[in-house]
Structure formats: C-alpha cells, structure tokens
Symmetry: C2
Subunit: 403 residues, 2 copies
C-alpha cells in the first residue's frame, strides 16, 4: 500500500537555464546495462575492490569510534580535519609541491573539487579550455555552469599545448584550463615534461587558472614519475585535485583541492554552502589509517597489479583485434582508448557487443564538441588477466564481424 505513488506526475516546473545543458548522461545508462552480471564489462571506471585495504580501514574506523567517537560524529569545519590536511601536505611535498594546510581543502572526492572550482570561476559563456577528448564528468560539471569550450587536440604526449596561443585570438579569454595530465580519462595518455613546462609558462604569462585533475598520477606502473603542474608553478596559477578514491577506496569519498591560499579560502566558502563539510567520520578514519598504514607500499602493490592487467589487455588486443584497430599504450592509470577500423561506430557496436556479453564505453560523449564515434574507452583495472583476455577475445570477434 505504502509503495503506491501517491504523488501524480506533476506539470514540470520551469527549471534554471543551466538544466537545458545537464541531461542525464547516456553513459550512465550504458553503465547500468553494462553491469549486468552476465556481461564482461570494461565500461566502468572502477578500481579493483580486491585491493582495497578493507581490514586496515575497518580497524581505523573502530579506533576512531572507540577513542574519539563523539568528535568524529559531530559537525566539523568546512576546511577539513587538520591532521588529514597535514598528511596531504607532506604527501604533496614528496612530489615537490609545497602547500601549507590552509592551501588544502578536503572535498567529497575530486569530483567535488571540479564543481567548486567551476562554481567559483565560471559565469555563463565563460571559456574553459579542454582536451579533445576529455573527462566526461568534468564536461558535465562545466556545462552545468553554462561554460563554453575552447577545445585543443591531444596526441600521445597529451594536450596539444602548442595550440593554446591560437585560442587567445578567440573573442573571449579563457577563464580556466582543465586537464588530467597523468593517464588521462579516457585516453590513458600522459602530458610530456616539455609540455608541462610550456603549459605552466602559458598560464603564468596570460594569468589563466589551470585545474590539474590528478586522480591517477600515483598509479604509474611504467616509466618515470613526471612533476605535477602545481610543482612547476611558483606563481599560484594551478589548483590541483587529488583523491584517495583510486589509492585507498572510492567509497570513503575523500579528495582534496590544493592551490593558492586565497582561492582555497574562496572554495571553502562555496563548499560551506554546498554541504557544510565532508563527513567527519571518514576524514578522521582516513587520517588515522594514514598515520601508520604503509600507503606507499600499498601503492606499489596497486601498480604491480594494474601494470599486469594493462599488459594483459595490450597483449590481448594485439592478439584479437582485427587489422585497422589501434589503441593507446598507457604508463599508468585505469583506461586505454581504442580507435576502431575506418568507418566503424562504437555506438553501433555497443548493443552488438552487449549481445556477445562484453561492454565498453563508446567514446562520443568525451568530446566537448563535434563528437566522434570511432573510439571506445576500455577499463583494465577491474578484471583479472584471464577475464581481460576473454573479454578482448569477445570484443575482437564483434569488431571483426563488423568489418
């Protein structure tokens, strides 16, 4: 009885203008279908749950409740829990990025960092520079603030920084440059050192804020660590976003934004009106965990497993993909990007692949303008090698049948 919908479908209310640009994401629907248990899905962006340090996290929570239960369950400051911010500062310092605790704001994952920066910076029509393709959920956020896009290309070295000067000939000076420099979502490619220097110089010269979104940087399994944009900048033109979602567990929803003090203070004011603060329990448990859990040894484990899975996917692609199919060669992260043989569409392929019980994300929604349909994103972090092999076998057969 109580389950009956007693509120009839209402006449729609007039919504804010921005909502015309915030449709339910097609990818959301794709992910729902792809997670059918009979489907081998490489669509989601999920870390490997078998690597979550469940016991250590459980222990940290138990201690927090036993020793500081009331404080952990009370309201807390918008800025975030001091000891957690101190750990993050020390962590950033290891990578050459020097920030004090008042330059760090705790967020609900790095997605909230994107939202807060967008809210602080963007009026309708303001220009955001993004790569083509770019992280889908960042595009949705910017669109929610009615941004317009200046799109630059990307190649195997990441964002085509050489195209940036040309953008300044446009009508409006960009307000923000958004990128994922390491093992980009969706491509898996990494911005080269030379381009990092050039990008920071460009942003400094023209005083344009860089939003450096770095959820995957610590998941490097090949090659040398490259300095973050924030660590190359001494003029305060970078806000960097980090998260524990890929290195500890996403279900905690703990990320951070680090940047110039004044801007972080402004982000804090905006976060206060957005949700007051991030969960006190999760912040204190994470801080306690980090105070003695070997985060860096755990990272090595993640890197080894993700490296093996990536290699397994690369080997399987080589073995099973028909001629004319190409893909990126990530040095870290969770994704690679496949270009289908000429004339083939990932959108057309998707339902056929699903019938053969394999799934991916079609690439079109990752393009801020002029969507292209010949790409797909594959996730390699969430399945063991034998299932990756089997999945690529199925996918290869589907593609070959379309040629």
């Amino acid at each position: 009885m109580t389950a009956a919908i007693s509120i009839p479908a209402p006449k729609p209310f007039p919504l804010a203008q921005r909502m015309s640009r915030m449709k339910a994401s097609a990818v959301r629907e794709i992910l729902k279908v792809a997670e059918r248990p009979d489907v081998l899905s490489f669509a989601g962006g999920l870390p490997a749950p078998e690597l979550f340090p469940v016991e250590a996290i459980a222990q940290a929570h138990a201690e927090v409740f036993a020793e500081e239960g009331r404080a952990a369950l009370q309201y807390s400051t918008t800025e975030g829990y001091g000891p957690l911010r101190e750990w993050i500062c020390a962590h950033l310092a290891r990578q050459g990025q020097h920030a004090t605790t008042d330059q760090v704001l705790i967020t609900n994952g790095s997605q909230q960092g994107i939202d807060l920066v967008a809210k602080v910076m963007l009026d309708p029509g303001d220009v955001v520079v993004v790569e083509n393709p770019s992280y889908l959920a960042a595009l949705q956020t910017f669109s929610g603030y009615e941004a317009s896009y200046a799109v630059v290309g990307s190649d195997d070295q990441g964002m085509r920084v050489d195209e940036l000067e040309g953008l300044l000939r446009g009508a409006r000076k960009p307000k923000l440059i958004y990128l994922v420099p390491n093992f980009q979502n969706p491509k898996g490619t990494t911005l080269s050192l030379e381009r990092r220097h050039a990008l920071v110089r460009f942003a400094q010269r023209h005083r344009i804020l860089i939003l450096e979104d770095n959820p995957y940087g610590e998941l490097r399994f090949r090659g040398e660590h490259l300095p973050s944009l924030a660590s190359l900048d001494k003029e305060g033109v970078v806000v960097s976003l980090g998260t524990f979602s890929k290195t500890l567990a996403p279900g905690l929803r703990i990320g951070w934004a680090a940047g110039p003090k004044e801007l972080v203070r402004t982000l804090t004011v905006v976060k206060q009106s957005a949700d007051l603060h991030t969960a006190t329990v999760a912040q204190r448990a994470t801080a306690r965990l980090l105070s003695r859990f070997d985060y860096y040894a755990n990272l090595e484990k993640l890197r080894a497993v993700y490296g093996e899975r990536c290699q397994s996917m690369l080997t399987s692609l080589e073995k099973h993909m028909p001629e004319g199919t190409r893909w990126t060669q990530p040095d870290g992260g969770m994704f690679l990007w496949v270009e289908l043989p000429r004339g083939m569409s990932a959108d057309t392929l998707f339902p056929i692949a699903l019938e053969k019980r394999v799934a991916f994300v079609p690439g079109a929604p990752f393009f801020a303008s002029e969507p292209r349909t010949e790409f797909m994103r594959l996730n390699f972090s969430n399945r063991p090698p034998e299932l990756i092999e089997e999945g690529m076998r199925r996918l290869g057969a589907v593609i070959a049948a379309q040629k």
Copy 2:
C-alpha cells in the same frame, strides 16, 4: 622547511559574478571565537554529542566492513543505497508522506539538498520566498545562485502565509518558497496547521515549488506533531529535505531529498556532477544501524533531554533577563530567539558578552533584507541545564549592564 609558503600571494583571478554575493560568513568567524574553551557558547548549532549512539554506529560500521567491505568501499550509484532509501520511505510513510524509492535521493546532509534544489531551479534574479528571519546557510546558498528574495514576515505561528498573495503583484513570479516549518532556525517557531494547509494550497494554485527543510521536525518535545507540507500535498509541489544529523549524528553527513519523481531525477543528475555520490561506507553503515537500532526509542531520549534543556533555558531567561527582553517558546528543535530591550544591538553586545565568557549568534545575518540588530539566537541542545543556567546568568548581567 616544507612548511614555507612557496606559492606567493597571487594576483586575484577574475571570479564568477556570483562570488560577489558569497562572502565568508561573519557567523563563521563568530563561531570560531565562540568555541574558545573558556567561553560558555550558545552560538553553535550543535546537537548533544553525549547522546550520539556511538557504540551502535561503531558496531554497524564493523559489520559493514566484515560482511560487505568491498562493496562498501567501492563507487556506488548517485541515487544512494537502496535499503537506506527504503528505510526513509517507510519513515516518511509513518508521517503520512508517501514516496517510492525513486522519489528519494541521498544527500550529504540536508544542506546539499538546498544546494541541489537551488541549482536546478534558479537563474540569476529568480525570486525565492523566504521568512524574515530565515536559515542563514540557505540564504548563502540561494545567493550563490544569484537569487533575489521576496521576504515575508514571521510570527509565533511561523511564516506569514497571508502575505504570499501580495508577492504575486511583484514583477517576477517566485520560483521557490523556502522554509523550515518545524522549530525554525533561528526562531524556534513552528508553522501552524492552518497555515500549512493555506501554504500548500497557494503553491498548488500558482504552481510554485515549496522547499520544505525539516531537520528538526522529529525533535518535538511539547505539543502535537503537525503534518508535513509534503504529506498535505497530492500535486507534487513540495520537495522535502530530511537528515540524520540531528537524530543520529551530523558527522555521518547523511540526509535526503524527497519529492516528485521527475524532479528527484533531475536533482540526481545535478548531484552526479557535484560529487558523484554520497559516501558508500556511511550509507551502508547507517542502513545497517537502522535495520535493528530502535531509532524511535532513541528519538524519545533526545526529546526528553532537549525538552529539559529548553525548559532550563526558558526558566533561566525568566530569572536573569532584565525587563524588556523577550524570547520565543519553542516546542522542539535546538534554538530560541531573543529580542533585546529597545535600542540594544546584539552586534554591540557580542564582544562584551565574550569578555564575560558567554556567546550567542547575533541575529542580523538571518535577515534576507534589512538586517535587524535587536535579536540573538540561542542554542539549547548542546549544554546541560546547570551550564545553561550559568550562561543565562552571565548573559542577563551583560544585557542588564547595557540598559
């Protein structure tokens, strides 16, 4: 060495227009000062931490990690954890509000619900109807979306609903009516039954969305429960916000928005771009707790203690306040509202009170327009009766000395 600020104070970036209306709240600074350990503060809006069911919450977390650790630490859906939404539906049904799970979105406390509704509904200049005075952090949120306000009065029966028709003669039809119907923040007053009916009829007739913010409704310690606006509405003109922050613990940051299905779906799209989802751990632990913890018996405990504290404050005010001071008589919640003797300003009083080691929140920032300085908000939930008595003694002396 690493503590040195290596990023110099930057030339400010041009921020979004909305930021001119989102200054750091003065109350934020007041609360920081007021929480000095030597000060008896009635300024904060804190529930009593000694009533948090710490052990039951700890136990629920321990079980979640032991039995469903990987799922609890993984990404989850934006809508929120199914069993938690089912509990909320059953909870609302007890109060005559019938909602299905697809009419409920889990949020990071009810503050996020305010933000999401504002983002979905408000273009710059859009009119929000608010009481005078109104919940401060809601005003900050609406201002962040560059709303304008239509202000209606409030008396001991809550919002002056009879003033609403007059507002329609204004240039712009309101988009949203925001109110806290039960034990309002800051006044502690409650909307009468007659006005509830009239308000819902008004909103239905003119098709204006009501945002019913109800964080305190379950904390009634005197009088009869009044039906929620949502329970009186069969035409889908109410979005109601609820939270576990006052009935379990705020540090979990779990709240919800319930309303017409289509609108809740839209709120979900916006939440996805804001922070993907609310922490999986906290949602699953809360659901597990609620599956066998006696939430309603616990509420009775809270009501008894808060009722005692409120009574203690009322008695102490009677005893210690000089003539000409008046205050509200709440039937529940956490706050009451004091009107100072004629000509006295709470802003002027604040630093003097602080010297005498007692603190409150001056009332001015709760007014959406034409701030008035003769009011203060007092919280009675966070201190035991003997400290309330001592605090009111100090405060009475400070006020008497100013007369």
